[in-house]
């Protein structure tokens, strides 16, 4: 149970900082667009969007590691299957 709690805190922090970092990047991008216009600000925003998309992906990776470490291979394997599915979607998505 203690190990589960540690995983919970790790995941909670990952999600919180993921949202925080991506929103800071997006606000910066919006400010650049507003002040200077052009495509540069747009590219900064896209970096923020990417950081946001990566956040749940990172939490799946960390869950895989966390459950493997906690001796619950069943859930670690499931997390890996989810990552593989995401990668598959990325590859065939184009």
């Amino acid at each position: 149970m203690k190990k589960e709690k540690r995983i919970q805190i790790l995941i909670s922090k990952t999600l919180f900082y993921g949202v925080l970092v991506s929103s800071v990047i997006m606000i910066t991008g919006l400010a650049v667009v507003y002040l200077f216009g052009g495509s540069y600000g747009g590219r900064i925003i896209m970096a923020g969007v990417l950081a946001l998309i990566i956040t749940p992906i990172a939490r799946v990776v960390l869950l895989a590691a966390g459950y493997a470490h906690a001796g619950r291979p069943r859930f670690a394997v499931m997390s890996l299957i989810i990552i593989a599915t995401m990668a598959f979607g990325y590859i065939i998505g184009k």
Binding site: Q8, I11, K13, L30, I53, M78, Y90
Partner: protein, 270 residues
């Protein structure tokens, strides 16, 4: 549509998302499409990114509280992720006008579900007679409103996994999180108490949405400025929702939710 209106849209969606365990895509897509005149595929892409924001900010709190059942979430995510890839791929082949009608059908379904929910009582915590904590997916949590410890077991997982593939496909196809299917699925089919079901659904939405968002991102369908403004609104709305609305009575909100969904479905069709 102006900067301020998009921000307000995101804010309201974030509020609703934190209360119902939904991502809010059900409102983002039609509003962007109907009122901001953004093409439906781009509206879906924006919605998916906003769903990740709602899910991540709400789940950050619910996971630490132990309200979101991570083990149940991961198990069902295997199905929703597969469905999401399928849905996103199908979306690329479907014309905008067909997508529009499928979305309207989903809105009618949501309006009907929410209307029924506003009349009936959802399964509450502690109703389960058999609480086997030795079940690998069963767990317990402390109700934030009452302080009571509730434990529950999970029933009918194979059926839940199969239905989750469909929920994931709807997500990838229409840019919604799929929470509208996941919450009642976990509540009614698996016997998860409603608060834990909403929190677990919310936890899962981010992964389901990210799976298809990756596809839309690669296709260059994410509009930077619109997305950034909506997302920032969503983050602010869900932060407030977590503090204020999580403790309020949901019945009237459900009725309002149902009416808005019904009105939007009509507007899309006519």
């Amino acid at each position: 549509m102006t900067f301020l209106l998009l921000l307000v849209l995101g804010f309201c969606v974030g509020l609703l998302g934190s209360v119902f365990g939904l991502g809010g895509g059900i409102f983002i897509v039609p509003i962007l499409f109907l009122y901001a005149h953004i093409p439906i595929h781009q509206a879906i892409a924006t919605s998916l990114v906003a769903i990740i924001a709602t899910s991540s900010s709400v789940a950050a709190v619910n996971v630490e509280r132990g309200l979101a059942n991570m083990r149940l979430g991961i198990t069902l995510e295997v199905s929703t992720a597969a469905g999401a890839v399928l849905g996103a791929v199908i979306a690329g082949m479907v014309s905008p006008s067909v997508l529009k009608y499928i979305f309207a059908a989903l809105l009618f379904f949501v309006a009907w579900t929410m209307f029924r929910k506003s009349l009936n009582n959802a399964r509450q915590a502690g109703e389960q007679e058999t609480c086997r904590l030795d079940h690998p997916l069963g767990t317990q949590y402390t109700d934030p409103a009452t302080g009571k410890v509730c434990s529950y077991s999970i029933k009918r997982m194979p059926a839940a996994s199969a239905i989750s593939v469909f929920a994931g496909a709807i997500s990838g196809l229409l840019g919604v999180g799929g929470g509208i299917i996941q919450v009642p699925l976990m509540n009614i089919v698996c016997g998860v108490p409603i608060k834990a079901a909403a929190a677990t659904s919310n936890f899962m939405l981010g992964v389901t949405a990210a799976t298809s968002a990756v596809v839309y991102f690669r296709r260059g369908m994410v509009l930077p400025e619109v997305t950034a403004v909506v997302v920032l609104g969503v983050i602010a709305g869900s932060a407030l929702g977590m503090r204020v609305l999580a403790r309020t009575e949901g019945k009237r909100l459900e009725l309002a939710f149902s009416l808005i969904a019904f009105a939007m479905a009509l507007k899309i069709i006519f």
